[in-house]
């Protein structure tokens, strides 16, 4: 068996790019991308406005907040853990940056906000990485803890920026560069940066190794705790970037603005095809996953459905995506012994 494989592999490795084997591999690994393209085509045919530049750039801007957070969470998930604290961390950091803006100025507000985000990420990372606690419990606890901290901080009041005209803070949420919204830039630039980190650095390789098999990684001299710790810092920093977009766009914040975001973010990550078991996945996958979420919402609105129809459709799409992924590995839709 191995011999036949070896021969087939060697000859097809570089020379025969369009062999049957490669086509199958592409279908298997890029299934979600193909689904995405079919999806776009279907929507474009049913609505004239759908494929317009304005509409597409609106969708990108709309998904930029969830997308930015999802990039960080993707790295945590590839490392074999979950981060459910991002939703309430988004609330907290947005409240913080908006509130401090008028008190200590935009630069100071941004610095303090990122410091606070990283502190939260560090606590998550210490508990999951070094203390080896279950990440679901740690970050679920952190979710409610930060909610509490946010309410204590605001005393239950909403916060806003008084002088909305005289500050450069509007840049992150409202401005355009080269015709593209700054939130979209933040999302895409961070995506490229984190993609490079994951695929081109030793740290990225270690994240995959630790997520794939923590024990074997330890036996290979990979310091698991440090790697996990770093993934939580990245996730928290990405959430900080999202807070920057959100705070700047609204120039104010409710103290529960990020509620439920953790699940939307996770939906995007899963939809893209990053495995919750850890050890596999990628940033481009998450970008596509998040865009699918965004385009579903947008497409349904354009077709005249109420906005809440998207929840049902999103669920169906996620189940289909996960199911097709499992079925293609298993070779059949259902198990034999059910």
């Amino acid at each position: 068996m191995a011999k036949a494989d070896a021969q087939a592999g060697r000859s097809s490795d570089r020379q025969r790019l369009i062999s049957g084997e490669n086509v199958r591999r592409i279908l298997q690994t890029q299934g979600i991308l193909i689904a995405f393209i079919l999806f776009l085509v279907a929507f474009s045919l049913s609505s004239d406005r759908f494929a317009s530049f304005d509409n597409v750039s609106t969708v990108f801007r709309q998904v930029s907040i969830i997308g930015t957070i999802a990039l960080g969470v993707t790295i945590v998930v590839i490392g074999g853990n979950l981060d459910l604290s991002v939703g309430s961390l988004l609330s907290f950091t947005t409240v913080l940056v908006v509130d401090l803006h008028d008190k200590i100025g935009p630069t100071g507000a941004i610095l303090v906000m990122f410091a606070a985000a990283l502190a939260v990420g560090a606590v998550n990372g210490l508990l999951v990485g070094f203390a080896r606690l279950n990440s679901l419990i740690v970050t679920l606890g952190m979710l409610s803890a930060i909610q509490g901290v946010t309410l204590i901080y605001t005393g239950g009041q909403n916060v806003d920026i008084v002088d909305q005209e005289g500050t450069w803070f509007t840049f992150f949420g409202r401005d355009f560069l080269l015709g593209i919204a700054v939130p979209t830039w933040i999302f895409l630039v961070l995506a490229v940066a984190l993609h490079i980190v994951l695929t081109r650095t030793t740290f990225g390789r270690r994240v995959f190794a630790v997520g794939g098999n923590p024990t074997a990684s330890a036996f290979s001299g990979v310091r698991r705790a440090r790697v996990v710790f770093s993934t939580y810092l990245i996730s928290a920093a990405a959430t900080g970037c999202a807070a920057l977009i959100l705070g700047s766009r609204v120039m104010g914040s409710q103290n529960n603005v990020g509620q439920g975001y953790e699940l939307l973010v996770l939906a995007g990550v899963i939809l893209g095809g990053t495995s919750l078991l850890g050890g596999s996945g990628s940033i481009p996958k998450t970008v596509i996953g998040v865009l699918i979420l965004g385009f579903i919402q947008n497409g349904l609105l354009l077709m005249g459905y109420p906005y809440y129809a998207q929840w049902l459709v999103t669920w169906v799409v996620i189940i289909l995506a996960v199911w097709l992924d499992v079925a293609s590995k298993r070779g059949r839709l259902f198990t034999t012994t059910s």
Binding site: A2, A4, T201, T202, F219, G279
Partner: protein, 511 residues
């Protein structure tokens, strides 16, 4: 349980002579690009132990999966007691009396033994509630029949591996089996536990059950089996009567050639001391262990499971902290607090469990190989893919790794090739001290001798090698010196050329 109770012995003999219990006739199964089984015919008679042998990838597991209903053959027929059957899924196979006892245990550790035995068919009362009394009674009876010394109400997670295997067998007996397939049943058993297992196999034989016994261990096969069928590249290369054949003949059928004898050490190649342990202790695991390892030397460490062998290796490699004693590398006392420290001192450990400790199974061969020295291939934190590829190319070549390509996930390789990836990973760190823990566990004979020859070559190139093994032929065959461990202490040290098997056995059992 005893389907033959109504027959006299002579009637029974007639029956056996007439129709074999299970017959596979011309079974063919192909996977995309590979003919896994090619016209395989195979039979098991009543009360017979039929050993099935073959290298990894020869088709043994596929054959078993066809029998157990996990795969469907596209050609050929299966007859059970003269009747042609088609098995669509594992449950149906069990109902027909064909049970497979898996290599990997599939028990629920938090449940009791009884619940595990009847999992999926728990006896219930009229209301659909579990009838605990019946459950424990029936489970207890099966355990008695097997001669088990634990209770049906014990939790599985408190049982030893061997006893868990017993539960697995008990589970098979619920279905009144006609054919029981054992897949590498002794891989994780101690010698004493093996005796119990062999006893049970004998008892099943007496009850006229047909047994298919898959193993890599020649001694077991020759001890237990009545006939041996050897598979090679998906075809039957021969069926032999055990009493009329030799290990050599079986090996030839399996790999198509004879194995070379003991690879000889290059004389005079042994140099200065590379690693020295002085009074190393770690809790209850091992006490006051002192020995040295020289360049160019292979030292075997032999002992029962639980004697502290693996724990000593893990301590040297920085995975455990000793509470007393010192480790010297090239004469200098070193502090090894973590695997990266060990790697920096030129120590490498190919661990006991390939899949759990040795490899990231979903990762490619190349990425696994470079994992232990990411700093080595990239001082700046950026991956150097050229350097990684060079490592893969070099060690895939040197170790004769059979893999479709560098990007193949290691999970798709056979056991022997997986072990080569582990070895490649460590050799590419250019270690001066190499520890290999059970280097050939679960590996077929052909790859085994390749790995033994490799260990000798590595020593000849000046590396100090410590081989931990629970297989006596391996320790005897590959080592220059042998350390015998008993209950966490170094019981004796032998020269491999002059030691007798008896002396070794006595040393590791504390006599």
């Amino acid at each position: 349980m005893t389907p033959v109770a109504h027959h006299t012995q002579s009637e029974l003999d007639d029956l056996k002579a007439k129709a074999p219990l299970l017959v596979l006739d011309g079974v063919t199964k192909t996977f995309p690009g590979v003919k896994a089984l090619d016209d395989v015919s195979f039979e098991v008679r009543h009360g017979e132990v039929h050993a099935l042998l073959g290298e990894n990838g020869a088709g043994k597991s596929t054959l078993m999966k066809v029998l157990a209903g996990n795969h469907q053959a596209e050609r050929g027929q299966v007859h059970l007691e003269g009747e042609a059957i088609r098995v669509a899924n594992p449950l149906e196979a069990k109902k027909r009396g064909i049970v497979l006892i898996h290599q990997e245990l599939s028990l629920v550790p938090e449940m009791t033994v009884a619940e595990n035995i009847f999992l999926g068919s728990l006896p219930t009362t009229a209301l659909g509630i579990v009838n605990w009394r019946t459950l424990f009674d029936r489970a207890g009876r099966i355990l008695d029949q097997l001669g088990c010394r634990f209770a049906a109400s014990d939790k599985v997670d408190r049982l030893s591996i061997a006893n868990r295997q017993m539960v697995e067998i008990a589970r098979a007996l619920v279905f009144t089996p006609k054919v029981v397939v054992f897949d590498e049943p002794t891989a994780s058993l101690t010698d004493a536990e093996k005796v119990v297992l062999f006893d049970i196999i004998e008892r099943l034989k007496e009850q006229d059950v047909g047994i298919v016994y898959i193993s890599h261990r020649m001694d077991e096969i020759f001890r237990l089996s009545d006939r041996i069928t050897v598979l090679r590249d998906g075809q039957v290369s021969g069926t032999l009567k055990t009493a009329e054949t030799t290990e050599d003949e079986v090996t030839r059928l399996m790999i198509g050639r004879s194995l070379e004898g003991r690879p000889a050490a290059a004389p005079g190649a042994i140099g200065e001391v590379a690693l020295e342990l002085k009074g190393l202790s770690c809790g209850d695991l091992f006490r006051d262990v002192s020995f040295s390892l020289r360049r160019g030397e292979v030292v075997g460490m032999y002992g029962l499971i639980g004697a502290g062998r693996t724990e000593i290796a893990e301590t040297i490699f920085g995975l455990r902290t000793p509470d007393a004693g010192e480790i010297r590398v090239h004469g200098e006392v070193v502090q090894i607090a973590s695997p990266p420290d060990a790697i920096r001192h030129g120590i490498a450990l190919a661990p006991e469990s390939r899949k759990e400790q040795g490899l990231v199974l979903g990762m490619s061969c190349r990425d696994n190989m470079s994992l232990a020295q990411l700093e080595g291939v990239s001082a700046t934190g950026w991956l150097d893919r050229g350097a990684e590829q060079a490592i893969y190319d070099e060690y895939a070549e040197r170790l004769a790794l059979k893999s479709p390509s560098w990007r193949t996930p290691v999970v798709n390789l056979s056991g022997g090739n997986q072990q080569k990836v582990v070895l490649g990973k460590w050799l590419s760190t250019r270690p001066e001290i190499l520890i290999v823990d059970e280097p050939t566990r679960g590996i077929d004979v052909g790859s085994k001798s390749e790995i033994h020859a490799l260990i000798r070559r590595l020593a000849a190139s000046g590396i100090a090698v410590l081989v931990i093994s629970s297989e006596m032929p391996e320790v005897l065959g590959v080592s220059d010196r042998i350390l015998a461990l008993y209950h966490g202490r170094l019981a004796a040290e032998f020269d491999a050329a002059s030691v007798t098997e008896d002396a070794l056995v006595q040393a590791i059992s504390g006599m």
